[in-house]
């Protein structure tokens, strides 16, 4: 009896599935055919915070573009799938968007691992992908189809190193995490220290989740470093600066985009004061100079975002805004009926498109498209980040 009921349930389940999936394909055709764009975002799981902001930005922009006539009259249809910060689900989501919805381009994923996992399906379908993940590997392990909008370590690292050098520090200790962002950054730092005129006198790492960095900081203190370069996006950054102050390690701290997080400043409290980090200029739009195109673009986006959702957009929303801006710009040039291949070529031809992250100019070898001109240096003052004069 048991086997029978189990089998029946199973058969029903399978039949139901096939039935459901069969019924999805006949959507009514009215007006111009919409341009279908897929997005794979982490709406649940570890990166839920990122995905949610990205989703809001994308939906806001799609509505704006469609309200002002879409792409040559054709509306954009945005289909968002959640990958749950899970690689298998990202693959399935990409397959669904490509195979079932027939999208011409993909935005996402939110995380580096998920972005990389989608690559197989993206390649096979020949659909361009604009990733919102910051890992150097995304465009460093070059694929003609894959673009990325965040400031990658490849530009942030040289910018910060130069700032350290300019401040007169040549002996620097590096403290980075062994997770994705830290490891990635450390590799780029290693490549660039020599050309920046900096000597690394200590190279310390820690595991994500470490709650005690005494050993690393003690050795850094003994290394005679004039400054500490901290490369992590995790909560350990706060632990690091706090214990450094407690241990009497008073050298200046430098960092990257990982410190452009409110949680860092809240977690580190007093100890965060004076921390210097480099990241996009748009963190404080006034950096661009009032009246400039960039300033207008960023503040316009910020205003509309705040009107719609009641809060300021964070950088993740900004990266998603850029992905859609770049895509819309390319579509404008090739028209709503372009094939994925034509669209890819158009994206690669992106030249001087102004977004949140800066001014994007892609080339056959550069699919990140930003330069150090799009970055600025910040310091923490009275619990807030302010541009360094």
């Amino acid at each position: 009896m048991e086997r029978l009921s189990v089998s029946l349930v199973f058969v029903l389940l399978v039949a139901m599935l096939f039935g459901c999936a069969g019924g999805t394909k006949d959507a009514a055709d009215e007006g111009p055919k919409p341009v279908k764009i897929g997005a794979v975002l982490s709406l649940t799981g570890t990166y839920a915070g990122l995905g949610e902001a990205e989703k809001r930005a994308l939906e806001l922009e799609v509505d704006r573009i469609n309200a002002s006539g879409g792409i040559a009259g054709a509306p954009i249809e945005l289909i968002i799938e959640d990958d749950g910060t899970d690689e298998a689900k990202a693959v399935a989501a990409a397959a669904k968007l490509i195979e079932q919805d027939g999208v011409v381009a993909l935005i996402g994923a939110s995380g580096t691992g998920q972005t990389m996992a989608m690559r197989g399906d993206v390649k096979r379908a020949g659909v361009p992908q604009i990733s919102l993940a910051g890992g150097t590997v995304v465009t460093g392990e070059f694929d003609p189809l894959v673009f990325q909008t965040p400031w990658s370590n490849r530009i942030v690292v040289p910018f910060v190193l130069e700032a350290i050098n300019r401040a007169g520090h040549t002996k620097v200790a590096l403290l980075s995490d062994s997770g994705g962002y830290g490891k990635d950054g450390r590799a780029v730092i290693m490549e660039n220290v020599a050309s920046a005129g900096i000597e690394l006198v200590a190279d310390e790492t820690f595991n994500p989740g470490d709650t005690d960095l005494t050993a690393q900081l003690t050795r850094i203190k003994a290394s005679g470093a004039q400054a500490v370069l901290l490369w992590t996006a995790g909560k350990e950054a706060a632990v690091a600066v706090k214990s450094a102050r407690e241990l009497g390690l008073d050298q200046p701290f430098f960092g990257g985009s990982g410190q452009a997080r409110v949680e860092f400043i809240e977690g580190a409290g007093e100890a965060a004061e004076g921390f210097i980090f480099g990241t996009g200029k748009s963190l404080v739009p006034a950096n661009w100079g009032e009246g400039s195109v960039q300033f207008e673009t960023v503040s316009d986006f910020a205003t509309r975002f705040e009107t719609a959702y009641g809060e300021q957009p964070d950088i993740f929303a900004g990266h998603a805004f850029d992905a859609l801006t770049i895509l819309a710009d390319a579509l404008d040039r090739v028209g709503p009926d372009a094939s994925p291949q034509e669209l890819r070529d158009a994206i690669e031809a992106t030249n001087g498109v102004v977004g949140f992250g800066g001014t994007f100019t892609f080339s056959k070898t550069d699919h990140n498209g930003l330069t150090t001109d799009d970055l600025a240096l910040y310091t923490v003052e009275s619990g807030k980040w302010v541009p360094v004069k």
């Binding site: 189990v6 399978v14 649940t44 749950g84 690689e87 298998a88 195979e99 197989g120 490891k183 595991n207």
Partner: protein, 323 residues
């Protein structure tokens, strides 16, 4: 009635085998392929937990071991896929043996802790052994499975490959449980003292079942690597092990069908929004953000209220109509 019951497994097998003829939806086939991968792990866990009564919180590590082994064999060494597949199973079996031999001498809760420790250690190793595993960035560019010049690259082909292997595993496991080893496992679970007094080599049985389940997990990992084409450590965490365990627990003890139904249902829930087009995005999101709550809650409720899980409930449903 009796004939229907006897025919049911064949019916299921036919429906599963006919999948790609029933739909040309490549996404759905991909999702069902993932269901098959989980099912393969769960066949092993059903034997380990449901029959032999042993808890493992480390099976995701064996999946990972298999995935990396097959990836390294096919990408770094350029070996044929099938060699990597076998290597994956063997490596996972070896890992299972090394873990099982010392820890199965211990009482149940120590085994659970030992597997938890092993799972955590494996997660660390996958990240730190960067030259082999690619570290946190993962291991990409893994080719599709291929056997003798035929490459399984179409979703339907992958679906058939995975489900064929699941089918073989289910068949072998059914035979195993129907005969003496199955009785020995259930005896072990029922009363360890009684099993010892009946001459059952309890340690030997535990080690064998553990190694067998680790092997199946390793094979599932090898298939995962070549189906997805990319492997990274974030997939093989203790969290995933708990998910597997939840599937086995909810599926119930003393049965293969129950855990397989649970694995199918719990895997499909993850793709709810894509599978049921009418469902509102918010509903799907709520379901998905509470997924782990559901796993945790189900484990607690099943253990408290229905220790025999889905299979027990089905059995009870089935016996209502009986005279």
């Amino acid at each position: 009635m009796r004939t229907v019951r006897a025919l049911a497994p064949y019916l299921v097998a036919i429906v599963v085998a006919a999948g790609p003829f029933l739909t040309d939806d490549r996404f759905l086939l991909k999702v069902l392929t993932f269901v098959g991968l989980n099912a393969l792990v769960i066949v092993g866990l059903a034997l380990l937990f449901g029959f032999a009564g042993q808890v493992s919180l480390g099976h995701a590590a064996f999946v990972g071991l298999g995935a990396y082994a097959s990836a390294v064999c096919s990408v770094r060494f350029g070996w044929p896929w099938i060699v990597g597949f076998i290597a994956a199973g063997s490596l996972a079996a070896l890992g299972g043996l090394i873990l099982a031999l010392p820890s199965l001498r211990l009482k149940g809760h120590y085994l659970a802790m030992a597997t938890l420790g092993f799972g955590e250690l494996a997660s660390l190793a996958f990240v730190e052994a960067e030259p082999v595993t690619g570290g946190v960035d993962g291991f990409s560019g893994i080719p599709f499975p291929s056997i003798g010049g035929f490459e399984f690259r179409e979703p339907a082909a992958l679906y058939w490959l995975v489900w064929a292997i699941v089918g073989i595993a289910v068949l072998l496991a059914t035979n195993l449980t129907a005969l003496r080893p199955g009785r020995a496992m259930r005896a072990l679970h029922g009363s360890e003292l009684g099993a010892l007094a009946s001459g059952v080599d309890t340690t030997g049985i535990k080690v064998r079942v553990f190694v067998l389940s680790a092997t199946l997990a390793g094979l599932a990992g090898a298939l995962y690597a070549s189906v997805v084409g990319f492997v990274s450590p974030s997939v093989f965490t203790v969290g995933s092990s708990v998910t597997f365990l939840a599937m086995a627990v909810i599926g119930g003890t003393g049965s293969l069908a129950g855990p397989l139904v649970a694995a199918t249902a719990l895997t499909l829930v993850q793709y709810l929004d894509a599978l049921i087009p009418g469902i509102s995005r918010d509903t799907a999101r709520i379901v998905q953000s509470f997924q782990e709550d559901v796993y945790g809650m189900s484990i607690v409720l099943v253990v408290l209220l229905a220790p025999r899980g889905v299979s027990g409930l089905l059995k009870r449903l089935g016996s209502v109509g009986r005279p």
